[in-house]
């Protein structure tokens, strides 16, 4: 073996080892595994939430909250615990980089109308632009599945769920069950 080949061998092995130490599955590899429940690239069927195109910081925090148990869940805590911080960041980045698509939904126009009033009077300060607005703390609601929004709002009402966002818990406690259904229908009606 010539010294040149030896050098390149050492370099190759060195790089390979370095790669092995820092190795993490690709964003796509990690994200594709979630599609069994969240649909291809996060475009889910109801009532699993659509997560394609949600804000990266919001997804990072939500996955961390599932993992720590701060946010209650049926199954997401068990799954989020399977990833380290770097992998959670990769998952958040993967789903944040997808394009949100609002699916067509069958909705009761009366409920939508009632929900619009509740939104205007109580929710529009944070969930701006009829729920289309999103930032690090506020997820998009416009075009989300009605079924999921109903479950989520019910979770905020149920004392057993102990949702992490106190502000939302208080806000939702002012509303009755029909209000929540109306609100879910309104956001679901938006594109």
């Amino acid at each position: 073996m010539t010294s040149h080949r030896l050098l390149s061998l050492i370099l190759t092995l060195g790089l390979f080892n370095l790669a092995a130490v820092c190795a993490q599955p690709s964003h796509r590899m990690l994200g594709d595994a979630c599609a069994g429940c969240h649909g291809t690239r996060g475009h889910s069927a109801s009532p699993m939430p659509i997560i394609a195109g949600l804000p990266e910081a919001y997804l990072k925090q939500t996955l961390r909250d599932f993992k720590s148990g701060k946010r209650p869940s049926t199954i997401m805590g068990r799954l989020a615990s399977g990833y380290d911080d770097a992998e959670i960041d990769a998952l958040a980045s993967f789903f944040a980089s997808q394009v949100w698509i609002s699916p067509p939904q069958e909705l009761d126009p009366k409920l939508v109308k009632r929900g619009k009033r509740i939104h205007r009077d109580g929710c529009s300060a944070c969930h701006k632009d009829n729920g289309r607005f999103q930032d690090d703390k506020v997820p998009r609601l416009a075009g989300q599945w009605r079924g999921y929004l109903e479950i989520l709002l019910e979770e905020y009402r149920l004392s057993e769920r102990r949702m992490p966002d106190l502000f939302m818990t208080i806000a939702v406690s002012q509303l009755d069950e029909d209000d929540l259904k109306a609100l879910a229908s309104f956001y679901a009606s938006q594109r």
Binding site: R28, A33, C37, T40, I75, Y83
Partner: protein, 427 residues
């Protein structure tokens, strides 16, 4: 590297020549860099076909599946319960062809020449390939339970491959009078859908209870001493169907050794059990074509490289889903879907002569005990020293003390899982 590219060149040449000879519709020499043939269009195979095309549109993918439609075994226990139709579990392959450019062929592969890399079908066609993905699912070890063969299954249905068998078992349940006895013979490990027999007992009980047959009994005779989500099932049975379901482990003479199909009788070592409805879920092994192609081990399953799913016995042949032994992953629809994606990414890399990517896998198995009572088990897996292992500190089953609301949500999410995974595969 040089060797690999030469081999690829020869393969391409061979593939092109074969395509030319056989006159594939739409096969345009040079348009594709490689051809992958996928055998079997279930949870694993159909996912692999789609994700291979997503990974690299310059890979030609031919999916060979004998049936015009896939019927999901997952959630077929809801058909037994009368809560779902078989049609809602059936999926066609048109979207895979129309939206993803998969060439779908309805035919049965009867022989594989892994050296020459050709798959032969029952109708006399030949398909050359650069790589093959085999996803044949399971087949039964007929007569391992003495007297239980294909004709016995017409009397004592297995209903472990959804379709006519599911409907047969459903009709038998419908015909059974109140106070009757249902036997379920549960198979030894490993088998497809570990929680399935126990979910089946629950949903049969649901049907019987709903239709004025609440005095009936369901007895599970098991070849095992424990089973998936056992504590959750036992709690769920007792809460929803008190006194209706009992389970007999192998250590208490639960293992069924023989049947008399005409009489509807099951034989264990010391006992004779006669039921009004008898469901025998027989011992299993990899689908027939895997065995025929010489890809199976002594137990009847396919040993594979757990990163690429390439057979340890034959190069260029990958085996995914129920038929393969994939480390710690159970034989489930979610496992097959997850493995197919890892396998597709590996094949795309191997075709380009690069290293297969680092894998990541998930499994989630929901079971529905009553329409508003679901439970689950989940895990995230990674590759460690060449083996698929569950990530420590993650996964596991639903909490035993979960609230009624959580049980209801898990039943809802079980059905949503089905809608999502089937859309991910067939949509």
């Amino acid at each position: 590297m040089k060797r690999r590219s030469r081999r690829n060149f020869l393969t391409l040449l061979g593939g092109t020549a074969a395509a030319g000879l056989l006159g594939f519709p739409g096969a345009c020499p040079g348009a594709f860099k490689a051809r992958v043939v996928v055998i079997g269009g279930g949870y694993g195979g159909a996912t692999a076909a789609k994700y291979l095309r997503l990974a690299d549109p310059r890979i030609e993918v031919i999916l060979i599946e004998k049936n015009p439609q896939f019927i999901s075994c997952a959630l077929s226990n809801e058909v037994l319960a009368g809560e779902r139709t078989l049609a809602s579990l059936s999926f066609g392959y048109e979207p895979l062809a129309a939206y993803y450019g998969v060439s779908v062929v309805h035919d049965e592969v009867t022989r594989i020449d892994a050296i020459r890399r050709v798959a032969f079908t029952g109708s006399g066609q030949q398909y050359g390939f650069d790589r093959l993905v085999l996803a044949p699912g399971i087949t039964f070890k007929w007569n391992e339970i003495e007297g239980y063969d294909e004709s016995a299954a017409q009397r004592l249905p297995h209903a472990w491959q959804a379709g006519e068998q599911t409907l047969l078992l459903r009709r038998q349940l419908e015909a059974m009078p109140d106070g009757g006895t249902v036997y379920i013979a549960a198979p030894p490990n490993p088998y497809k859908c570990p929680p399935g027999p126990y979910e089946r007992a629950a949903l049969m009980a649901h049907y019987l209870k709903q239709h004025g047959k609440g005095r009936s009994k369901i007895i599970i005779l098991d070849a095992k001493d424990n089973f998936a989500k056992q504590a959750l099932f036992e709690q769920g049975w007792e809460r929803n169907y008190p006194g209706m379901i009992s389970w007999v482990p192998a250590s208490q003479d639960g293992r069924v050794l023989g049947v008399d199909a005409e009489q509807g009788t099951l034989y264990t070592e010391f006992g004779i059990h006669k039921g009004d409805v008898v469901n025998v879920i027989p011992p299993q092994k990899a689908g027939q074509i895997a065995e025929q192609a010489g890809l199976t081990d002594g137990q009847g399953w396919c040993p594979i490289d757990q990163q690429t799913f390439e057979s340890k016995i034959r190069k260029h042949v990958h085996v995914i889903g129920d038929a393969c032994s994939a480390g710690a992953m159970p034989k489930s629809g979610y496992s097959a879907n997850s493995q197919a994606k890892v396998c597709a990414a590996a094949i795309a890399a191997l075709i380009d002569g690069s290293e297969p990517p680092l894998p990541s896998y998930i499994n989630t198995c929901y079971s529905i005990i009553a329409p508003e009572y679901g439970i689950s088990v989940a895990a995230v897996y990674r590759l460690e020293n060449g083996k698929i292992v569950a990530v420590q500190g993650a996964g596991g089953t639903s909490a035993l003390n979960a609230s009624a609301w959580e049980r209801k949500m898990e039943a809802t999410y079980a059905r949503s899982w089905f809608d999502n995974i089937t859309a991910d595969i067939f949509g």
